[in-house]
Symmetry: C2
Subunit: 228 residues, 2 copies
């Protein structure tokens, strides 16, 4: 499903170059459950944005279901994102002037084929599944940090994407809520969803079946590589 | 230093009342190191905002160094915040159009008594202490999640406040960086800083010497209360 080859991402700040990703390569098959760990600033979110078609690499290649992502234009990239990927952002990126329900329903509008009432109903179900049934009409600033994170998770799951990319999805959650979320993800993976999850918590990573360790923009260790 | 009595905070949303804090009472002496834990949505950030003079209670009283906070006007509240308190927000709240250095230097401008050069130098030292010496000129969107969190921490510490309030300060940090931060906080507490820290991680909470557990807006357990 995912084929990454020598992926590089450099940020240019005037005369300074920040080598956020310095050439990483790996494959992820459909149905895998992969955890990515590494120090703060090591390039994890940068890698996730590239895999999620939210950013284009400086060099290297990335194929998603055979599509050469680095060669697609903005319109095609948006279409790929909307149809294949659910993304939980490290900073949530909820729309401030919309309720939790409207935020979660939004990705369904891009897909089409549903009435507004059907979208809102499916969004309500997604919010209940993360324990926020009674917070549907709150706007982001009327929610706690962990509640905002769960809205971001519900939004990523509402389209039942083939690929879920979650960037530190339990960062603001207490142990109990975090454990519940991991059970949900294990279930979804069990019914076929491919999951790539960045985390710095070992208790979260252990639910995955493979671990990629990133340090200084490089893939230092791939647990799948041991079983050569 | 902190005396909270029957503190209540209710949010009004049209016809709906959200009882975020339902009457909590406790004292915190100068020099204590207190951890606050509890489920997502239980009222921890609401309590921190009240203690940090960023919000006023619906009912109850709060005295900070003898000052009746619920009776102060906005000007006095701002003065109290700027002179006594350093606050690490759960959502960071960095200024987007300013560099890390400028963000960290800002609280020093409110205090006065320093030249701009001195403020920038002290801000640079604060950033180095959290491992971000080489990220001074980056703006928030040019920083990783954990780097933004550390800028927020440096900003809270730069004025050497008597009281540090940290709302989930390790949420975006890897285990190693998180451990380094906790060592720094233990040091600062050892030299007299009073610290109140919200966390959902037991490994972070164990550095404190007292634990307050919040659930559904109520103080369910105070480890200091056992030693009656
Ligand atoms: N402005 C607001 N209007 C309405 N309800 C609010 C508002 N802010 C917070 N709430 C609600 O008040 C409750 C307490 O929120 P608070 O942010 O204090 O929780 P918390 O313990 O910090 O949670 P977390 O661990 O997820 O950060 C939550 O249920 C939240 O939905
Ligand atoms: N827009 C940008 N411009 C310049 N440098 C950037 C930009 N975005 C990120 N960086 C830098 O690139 C490096 C990698 O950032 P990235 O966000 O991928 O780290 P991360 O592994 O996700 O860290 P964290 O665990 O703290 O979230 C960091 O050192 C960061 O400062
Ligand atoms: Mg990141
Ligand atoms: Mg909170």
């Amino acid at each position: 499903m995912i084929a990454v080859r020598n992926l590089v991402r450099t940020y240019l700040m005037g005369a300074i170059e920040v080598h956020a990703l310095q050439g990483v390569s790996f494959d992820i098959q459909r149905g895998e459950f992969v955890a990515i760990m590494g120090p703060s600033g090591s390039g994890k979110s940068t890698l996730m944005n590239l895999i999620g078609c939210l950013d284009t690499p400086t060099a290297g290649s990335y194929r998603l279901d055979g599509l050469p992502i680095e060669r697609l234009d903005a319109v095609l990239l948006a279409a790929v994102r909307n149809t294949k990927i659910g993304f939980v952002f490290q900073q949530f990126h909820l729309l401030a002037r919309h309720t939790a329900l409207e935020n979660v329903a939004l990705p369904l509008a891009y897909r089409g084929g549903m009435s507004r009432a059907e979208r809102l109903e499916r969004a309500a179900t997604a919010l209940e599944r993360v324990g926020l049934g009674d917070r549907k009409d709150h706007r982001p600033h009327e929610l706690s940090g962990g509640q905002q994170q769960r809205v971001a998770i519900a939004r990523a799951l509402v389209t039942r994407p083939a690929l879920l990319l979650a960037d530190e999805p339990t960062g603001a959650l207490d142990t109990h809520t975090s454990a519940e979320l991991m059970e949900l993800l294990v279930d979804l993976n069990g019914s076929g969803m491919t999951i790539v999850l960045v985390t710095h918590e070992p208790d979260v990573a252990r639910h995955a079946r493979r671990l990629l360790e990133i340090r200084d923009g490089l893939l230092m260790h791939d647990s799948a590589a041991i079983v050569a």
